[in-house]
Amino acid sequence: MNLEQLLSLDHPLTRLVIGLLCIFAFVGLNGLVLVWVERKVAGHCQLRPGPLHVGPHGLLQPLVDAVKLIGKQLVAPAGSDKILYWTAPLLAFAPVTVCFLPLPWAPELSMIPMNLGLVLILAFSGLGVLSLILAGWGSNNKWGLLGAARSVAQSVAYEVPLLLSVMAVAITAGSLDLYQISAQQGGWPWQWYGVKNPLAFFIFLVCAVAETNRAPFDLPEAESELTAGFHTEYSGMGFGLFFLAEYANMIIVSGVAAALFLGGWQGPFLPGVWWFLVKIYCILFFIIWLRWTYPRVRFDQLLNLSWKWLTPLALLDLALAVIVAGFGG
C-alpha cells in the first residue's frame, strides 16, 4: 500500500477516516442544534419563549451548556463498578457512529457501499440497551437499576414490532440496502412507502420513539419517579455522552424512517442531500412535538401497547406485504 493510493478517495481507509470525521462533526453540531430546537419547541408549546438571551434567540445556549458540562468534575459513586460505570457512556455513543454509515444521504454520497445497511443499523442499535444496563448496574444506585430494568423490558418489547414493520418494507422493496430502498420510491408523496403502507410507518414511528427512550416512552429516565433513571449518578461529560447519544439515535431513527417511508433523498428541484435533511428534521420536529404533548405512559400500558397492539398489527402488515409482493412481483 503506497501513500498515493492511501490519499486517493477510492481507498476504503481514506473514505472511512473522512466519513467518520464528517459523522462526528455532524453528530456534535446536530446535538447542539437539537437541544436548542427541543427547548424552543418546549417553550413555544407552553406559550413561553424558551432560551432567548445567549446569542440570537438563545442559539448559543447549548454551546454554553456544553462548556459547562465539559468543565464539570467526573465523579463515580462509592461502591460502583468503576469499569462498567465508565464503559457505559462510551458504549452508548460508540454504536451511533456505526449506525450513521448506511444512511443514504444522497445517491452519490456514500462512505462504504453495503448491501445489508438496514441489518447493520438494527444490530448495532441494540447495543444501546446494553449501555443502559451497564450504566444502571454499575452505578450502584436503586434508581439506576430500576431504570435499567425498565429499559430492557421496553426495548425487548418494542424491537419486535419495529423489526416486523421494517421487514414489511424490505420485502416490498426486495432489498436491505437503504440506498436501494430509497431509490425504488419516487420524489412525490404518493410514491413513498409511508403512503403505500401507512400502518408500517405508524408502527415504525411509535417503536422508534420507544427505542430512543423519548417521551411518552421515557420510562428508563422518568425524572419524576426515578430521578434520572439509568444516568442518575452521571455528571459532566458522562451524562453529556448519554445525552449526545440520545440525540444521535433520534437522528438515526429519523434517517431510517425518511429512507424507508418518505422516499429518502428523492424530491423535486433540490439536490438529494437537502431533501434528506428536510425529511429528517420534519420527523425530528414531530418526535419533539410528541414529547411536549403527551404524559409518560405507565409501565403496563407500555408493554400492553407493544405486545397486544403493535406486534399483532405489524404481523398482519407483514403478511399483507408478503401477499402483495408475491402477487405483484
Binding site: 406559550l47 413561553r48 419563549p49 412535538w289 404533548t293
Partner: protein, 172 residues
Amino acid sequence: MSVSQLIEEAYTGLKSLVIGLGVTGKAFVQPGVTVLYPMEEVERDALVTFRGHVELIGKEEDPAVPRCVACGACVKACPSNCITVLCPVAPKEGEEGGPATMAPPPQKGCKTPGAFIVDFSLCSLCGQCARICPVDSLQFSDNPYMVSFDRKDFQIDLLARLKRMAGEEAGE
C-alpha cells in the same frame, strides 16, 4: 371485553392523541404570554387583580381624606395583627390642652383615623381587612415592584401615602 369494544377504545384513544397534538400545535404557533421583565413590564391595566399591600381609598369629594371611619374592624379582623389604627382623643375637661393623645379605636367622637399603619412584613395578603371594612375604605394596591433592603420601609403609613397619591393625581 369484546373485539368491537377494543377497537372502539383504540379509536377514541387515537382520536384523543390527535386532539392533544392539535392543542400543543396551536400553542406552538400562538405568540407567547411571558413578559421579559427587565426589558418589558406588565401593563397597568393587567395589574388590577394584583394583590399588593392594602391601601386606603379617599373620599370622592376629597381624595386626600380616607373614607375610613376609624371603627377598628380591620384591626380586629387581621389574623397577622399587622394593622395599627389610632384615634386622636381630645383632652378631657379641666386638663391641660397639651398635644392630642392617640388611642386605639373605637373612640367616642372619632370619625377619622389619626394614624393608619400597615406592617407589610407581617401581612399575609388574606384580604380580611378589605372584606370586613364597613365603608369600603381598603383595597389592594397594584405595585408589584416593591422592594427594599430595609425592613422599616415596609411599615407603611397609609394616611401619608393617600395624601401623596392624591397630591400626585391633582398635580397631573
